[in-house]
């Protein structure tokens, strides 16, 4: 990229010059996350979660590679090998808790990152590709997290594997053979455990690849910002280094503080006790729930309790659950409002607030037993969820009167923009 005023990489040291000729990795870094990347100066703290997500991915890969050195993916010993890590491997308890809670931390961060995008219209042109790649990353994360949760081979692992692969059996005609193909058997066993382990190890590196594309796509138009007004001149931006390195750096410290507080003082808070019982194909836990980050989608899955015309309830639920994420792919074309930021969208703002509450309600219902009133509440909440993306957003983007936008980022920050006054608008 990009802006004509971006700093240019200019190596001084002979070695760096030599390196720049042979393999310009330092130049790449400089232009990606160094001084060579101009970033809107008005980014608020909601913009810090992308960097934190990257840190989470790093934590998960490092701890995961290490756990794989001690874990054994075999139904007879998988559970015990995890306990071996917890009891006998040096620092094993810490690494395993770091990985288990790291998954939760990753999802907390990524959900905030996604909802920041929802509110500030980060999915809109010219950043559609950034958004699409982001949704792909989210799907890959969900697959990775699900398969990782199976590996300790406790009761929730086993029944989670059975129930989630059971979703595929809802597909007409090919469903049951498909489920058997996924599991390599009629129920989860060694075949399933081994392939889940293999893919759980592979997918994070696929995520790394898509993250590279995500950041690459971001660097073409440059970062969005809370006003949603595109960068116009040099005074709108600051170089990523040192400004945003410093900002991301200290918030990473704050994030790690909370993460470590959970890791060291409540490491099982987000887990389920049943997963400390070894997998038993003969007995289902009283109350099967996935990990908390799947709860909203799980609630949507369970909200369909009656056959709808010729479509069985089970298929409807599966269809809706996958659609709940797939609609995100269409978001850039569903929301046609020319204004990006929710700050300047008086109607959208309120619907966004309702969506946030709606998803929290769905999450709460998804984590509760499948009984009344949770089923009815999740039915109503699911209606809103689909209405929000598929009906409300397309309609309000045509009828809403946005508030006046600032001329530029500089004006939004300083109250005036001298460059703009002199008419020197760069692009």
């Amino acid at each position: 990229m990009s802006f004509p005023w971006a700093n240019h990489y200019n190596p001084q040291h002979p070695f760096m010059k030599w390196m720049d000729e042979k393999l310009p990795v330092p130049r790449l870094v400089y232009n990606a996350v160094g001084s060579g990347y101009p970033v809107p100066r008005n980014l608020n703290y909601w913009w810090n979660f992308g960097f934190m997500a990257l840190a989470c991915l790093g934590i998960q890969i490092v701890t995961g590679v290490i756990l794989a050195m001690h874990y054994a993916a075999n139904g007879l010993v998988a559970f015990d090998s995890v306990e071996h890590i917890m009891r006998d491997v040096n620092w094993g308890w810490m690494l395993r808790y770091a990985h288990a809670n790291g998954a939760s931390a990753f999802f907390v961060v990524i959900y905030i990152h996604i909802f920041r995008g929802f509110f500030f219209g980060s999915y809109k042109a010219p950043r559609e590709m950034v958004w699409l790649l982001g949704v792909v990353i989210f799907l890959l994360m969900m697959a990775t997290a699900f398969m990782g949760y199976v590996l300790p081979w406790g009761q929730m692992s086993f029944w989670g594997a059975k129930v989630i692969t059971g979703l595929f059996s809802a597909i007409p005609l090919v469903g049951e053979p498909l489920q058997q193909w996924l599991l390599g058997g009629f129920a989860p066993d060694n075949a399933a455990l081994n392939r889940f382990f293999s893919l759980h190890y592979l997918l994070p590196f696929v995520i790394v690849g898509v993250v590279v594309l995500h950041i690459w796509a971001l660097h073409i138009p440059g970062s969005s910002n809370p006003t949603g007004v595109e960068v116009k001149s040099e005074s709108d931006t600051v170089p990523f280094y040192p400004y945003f390195i410093a900002k991301d750096g200290w918030t990473l410290g704050a994030f790690l503080f909370i993460y470590c507080a959970v890791l060291f003082f409540a490491p099982n808070m987000l887990g389920h006790p049943d997963n400390y019982i070894p997998a038993n194909p003969m007995s289902t836990p009283a109350h099967i729930v996935p990990e908390w980050y799947f709860w909203p989608f799980y609630a949507i899955l369970r909200a369909f309790t009656a056959d709808f015309f010729f479509i069985p309830a089970k298929l409807m639920g599966v269809l809706a659950m996958f659609s709940a994420i797939l609609v995100w792919f269409f978001l850039p074309w569903l929301d046609r409002s020319p204004v990006r930021s929710g700050w300047y969208r008086p109607m959208f703002k309120w619907f966004f607030a309702v969506l946030c509450i709606d998803v929290l309600v769905l999450g709460y219902c998804g984590g509760s037993p499948a009984a009344e009133p949770f089923v009815m509440i999740s039915q109503i909440a699911s209606v809103y969820y689909f209405m929000h993306f598929l009906i409300i957003l397309p309609i309000i983007s045509s009828i809403e009167q946005p508030l006046p936008l600032p001329f530029s980022i500089t004006e939004a920050v300083l109250g005036k923009d001298e460059t703009a006054a002199s008419g020197a608008v760069a692009a």
């Binding site: 700093n7 620092w91 750096g249």
Partner: protein, 188 residues
Amino acid sequence: MAHDAGTGIPELTAGDEVRRRDFINIAAVGAASVGGLAVLIPLISQMSPSADVLAESSTEIDISQIKPGQAIKGVFRKQPVFLRNLTPKEIAEANAVSVASLRDPQTLAERTKPGKENWLITMGVCTHLGCVPLGAGEGEVKGEFGGYFCPCHGSSYDTAARIRKGPAPKNLEVPEYTFTSDTVVKIG
């Protein structure tokens, strides 16, 4: 990270002020580095032997069934250990060797316990590259010096398990052991 000077670091003014601010920035980067290094401790030490492996580091072996001239293979730290009941002839052969001429000079007495010179207890791990030498099992080749012979690269050990020929640099290692009774040896 590569960067050149003057890339938008704010213009700083008075000298003391600059020093104070620089100090904080350096301290922050320093703290981050210390944290990063501290994290390496668990990441590295997780690879060293775990508690269950360390707990296996002693083993008790019954030697009551070994007759003179016989040997058995025990297991110590997942590696073979040779327990050999030497015949008087083998002891005499070992003592007849000029210690000074050996690659790794040691007497038989130094390699056994006082009063138990007939019990030669060594690791069954060739000091060259770690193969298991032959000679402890019934009918195995003992090599030209009557002790052990390593088939991987041809190291020959004598009746005190001292290296006599071949690439191995050291005598077969004598592990720490004690006789807990006349018939039981505790290794490790």
